[in-house]
Symmetry: C2
Subunit: 698 residues, 2 copies
Amino acid sequence: ERGGVTFGKGADMTDGVWGKLCALTSLSVCLWVCGAEDSAMENIVTEKKAEESHRQDSADLLIFILLLTLTILTIWLFKHRRFRFLHETGLAMIYGLLVGVVLRYGIHVPRDINNVALSCLVDSSPATLLVNVSGKFYEYTLKGEISASEISDVQDNEMLRKVTFDPEVFFNILLPPIIFHAGYSLKRRHFFRNMGSILAYAFVGTVVSCFIIGLLMYGCVTLMKHIGHLAGEFFFTDCLFFGAIVSATDPVTVLAIFNELQVDVDLYALLFGESVLNDAVAVVLSSSIVAYQPEGDNTHTFEAMAMLKSFGIFLGVFSGSFALGVATGVMTFTKLRDFQLLETALFFLMSWSTFLLAEACGFTGVVAVLFCGITQAHYTYNNLSPESQDRTKQLFELLNFLAENFIFSYMGLTLFTFQNHVFNPIFIVGAFVSSWLEMVQGLAVFLGRAANIYPLSFLLNLGRRNKISSNFQHMMMFAGLRGAMTFALSIRDTATYARQMMFSTTLLVVFFTVWICGGGTTQMLSCQRIRVGVDSDQDNSVGIGPDGVERRSTKQESAWLFRVWYNFDHNYLKPILTHSGPPLTATLPSCCGPLAQCLTSPQARENEVQLRDDDSDLILNDGDISLTYGDITVSTDVAGVHSSGAPASGMGVSSEEALDRELGISDHELVIRGTRLVLPMDDSEPPMPLDPHRHREL
Amino acid sequence: ERGGVTFGKGADMTDGVWGKLCALTSLSVCLWVCGAEDSAMENIVTEKKAEESHRQDSADLLIFILLLTLTILTIWLFKHRRFRFLHETGLAMIYGLLVGVVLRYGIHVPRDINNVALSCLVDSSPATLLVNVSGKFYEYTLKGEISASEISDVQDNEMLRKVTFDPEVFFNILLPPIIFHAGYSLKRRHFFRNMGSILAYAFVGTVVSCFIIGLLMYGCVTLMKHIGHLAGEFFFTDCLFFGAIVSATDPVTVLAIFNELQVDVDLYALLFGESVLNDAVAVVLSSSIVAYQPEGDNTHTFEAMAMLKSFGIFLGVFSGSFALGVATGVMTFTKLRDFQLLETALFFLMSWSTFLLAEACGFTGVVAVLFCGITQAHYTYNNLSPESQDRTKQLFELLNFLAENFIFSYMGLTLFTFQNHVFNPIFIVGAFVSSWLEMVQGLAVFLGRAANIYPLSFLLNLGRRNKISSNFQHMMMFAGLRGAMTFALSIRDTATYARQMMFSTTLLVVFFTVWICGGGTTQMLSCQRIRVGVDSDQDNSVGIGPDGVERRSTKQESAWLFRVWYNFDHNYLKPILTHSGPPLTATLPSCCGPLAQCLTSPQARENEVQLRDDDSDLILNDGDISLTYGDITVSTDVAGVHSSGAPASGMGVSSEEALDRELGISDHELVIRGTRLVLPMDDSEPPMPLDPHRHREL
């Protein structure tokens, strides 16, 4: 009996309720009837089965498409009426929730014979399983492990299981375009100006936040263990893992509002840059926490070697992904300007292959794609024809939009349809435990963020001339929303009890932050009296912000390392990799003449004389100005660029000014794109008479 | 033993060769050891396994991405040098073939323990299988049936199996954008002018071709059965099915060259329209042939009722899909002009939901998507903002390009990696049989096409004033390439022996037609002395073609039914569904005034006065001209539209002229896009001195 094959067929098809494990009656009789005359009928049955399953799949996918359509129509209404309290992602979640409730409680799909689940008792779980049915072989592929308690659910809720996606879909299909778009649309000028602070927030901040949350959660878990509310194992590494995934902030809601209201560009750059790099750090951090495997029997003790190894993995994977992304971004040196379709297709394929290459090499595809996007925006973008520049931007904008809203509506849906957390004992026993857990964990999340933002800002302010003011700090604290990345990381593995609890908690954290923090952004902005309506191209001309702190020249932040890099980039990398910038023949020492000749592209060479003139003018002028005016504050110069009033060496300022100008020019279109949403667009609609948001200052 | 579980592990891992069925040693021992201390290690092993599998998947996908990248780069080179003998699809196939050879013979992946395939003996094949491994449950999903002869292959060629996609991917992911793009980019003016002939070719032609090929193939099969070369069952319905799938022409190669050389627009419209509708007819035809199921024991006899049922299915599915596509296309009545991103996303989602809705309803998604595309191009396109018009066109152009090249490169790859036909006895026994089969089948395919084109053209010419000249007929005969649709239909089901033989043959037919017919298009054009370099906006002014046949006024072809439809469309549908066209208040009888007021959009109402003036001017002028000049041939008129010299009633001509003009205006951008490839584009490259294709006439 034990070595036999056990399978069960619920004979009761009308009421749709299947028995539990006991219904899996063990039958050891296998019919081996090779009926040639039956094969035709069997084929028909198999075809019908496949067709039925395909129809069901189409209908399920249609639910999501209609959800997205509904979201788009409602967003349009909101944008039209200038509602800002609910972002499209929050809306997508609400619609997802509603559909989830309907699917969970509203629809009872009558069961049919096709969904019979067999239980076959063997001693290994291979990737491919061959099943011998009456002399015919069927191939099965491994989907995953399920716990014993869910077996009845598997049979019971075929419908709910159908609308559940493979978690890897998020990581491998939906997340890459979102992350790539973030990198590709980074406002590079302000990003590079605040690079030091952004890197500090992203690296130090995320690690600190991860450990703080991990420790707090470990405290909670220990407490739960003492009072007996813990139904499974929950190790310190699990807590750390939770800390890592919850540290990935995604202020997409806040940034959308910042864009609409044209909030201070430095705050925008700090938040956006931090959140983008945050995601990358959190992904690598979580994978290196998973990789923490001390040797010996007790696998959850502290061991220095394993810890060092994890740290090594973190560094290795991060730098590997970084290098791969930058390398592919740089390599996309397209000369296909004449055929926009081919150019766009190539650009798209190269970005995707970066992801796949990194994954195939064992690095993190998402991180590689992020840096690929940044590099492509910096170099490849300049090589594209103007039409392809538009096409690629629009394409990734669309992909980002669709993927983001899909993820958020799926998040809403999964709160009710995800079986593992709905049927988890701790959720079934009582709502009390879970809600208490949620409150504490919510607190931990915020504490983690606070421990990240405030001390770091204090330290950074010691070195920054343009201080990060306290209202900026409050705002960054407030904008620590969790989003797509956190969700994708937490849904990726829901096999163990600890992970399931994490997933459920993460879901609630995301809901809370997106609705409360996202919805309260405008209130928070006006409460913190943060300047809105800033034209990002003129922000330097405003000397004193409303907070009374001098905030003009953030340039001193860019240290010598950055200046060195900028000079190298401007003089050597840009000319080699793009058609813009000065030709190499002008920047390389004369001894490298032949090399320079051969590396300079024909287009750059054609414009050589003109470019050389322009460029030397620029550099000389800038140098002249800063040398001449020295310590005096100059508000404008001929080119519309404002030199800083701080004491600085001529060359340093000149290169920074040139950087600013250059990045500013390339960014211009992105800036326009970003602010398009605020323009009064519908002529047929009269303007709101009582809309306070139309004032430039809240 | 029989009722037990049989599973086999090939102990020999070094040479990678697995035994045949005999290697599947039957072991009935199942270990039921619940080791709690082992669970952590087991989890790690499972994770490692999943990670390894994910890496492998990434690497496999990367192969395809790099294949596409390579294709794009080579296409660019070809376009740059103006090579026309090999189209991008042919090129993609060649690269696919090369990679297929390398994968098949070049790479030996060392087998590891993870790929163990178990053979589990049960008496049913459910969609979901639960496997009990040492007390843990794993979930498996049904992938499909495999024949007994392939079991060793399943175990042997994990690598080749990995690069094999689920056939449904083609039908549900890759084909819809291709077909939608075809519908969306249909040159509507010339399509509507030649509608009668196109419908005749598509419906009558495809059905005739299907039956001719089916009959010929049945003759071959009978012959093969007599000489004993047939190793399995091959019924008449199988032959008809083969006829149906091979009747789907896909002259993408020929049309690309037509576009580049600006070949006669009527020929272009005939070919393109025929091929687009052909696909739709072939899909529905093949599914209704599959649905032909006579009752009783002998399932392959002729039965009038089953035949009638199949015919009913054909009509039902086709008209259902048509109605659904048109309905969704019409419903996409977007008012989101101000938010281009939302607009584009909505447009994309609506097109996709058409496909899913049709599939969920049991209709054919591809057909629905085709008519959705045509309808959206006709109505929705006018409602979109200019930016979204560009965006949607570019998006679907890109998707079409990627999907098409992916399918063709996969076709090349699959010739060597598809296991079912490589290991099929008829292919292993000798190349002779297959090549002979191919020759005969090739002949049948061409005979089918000939039986389609020539008699139909004869009949159509009886009713057409603008005869389809014999060189056009030869060209259409020659351009009967098979492509993506044929491939997708044939790979969809490769379970039985007959289907496998069909698939292999289809593959060879596609290769042959794409390379030989596609490559010889320019030669064929010059051989048939078909006019090239025709500006599609001026083609009416050329009275006599180089073939000496009068070919100016195709308008008489459009019968009264079409005129009635056009008037209805222009006066009522367009005003209701788009912002263009005359306002309803002008076209509806005065008794319907309130209704007209409420249906007319604000934009249309704003432009009401201006539009009414324009429109009435147009109609009056046209009427005047045709009434005045009656039977006299007029070469030009004021508006640049050429009235026909045929006797016709004033109103009829006037509406056709208006149709022509209107469709022409809307088509203009598409025409420009289509001909963009011929413009001399690269300035840095000197023009080819010896390129004969630069002359306008070959």
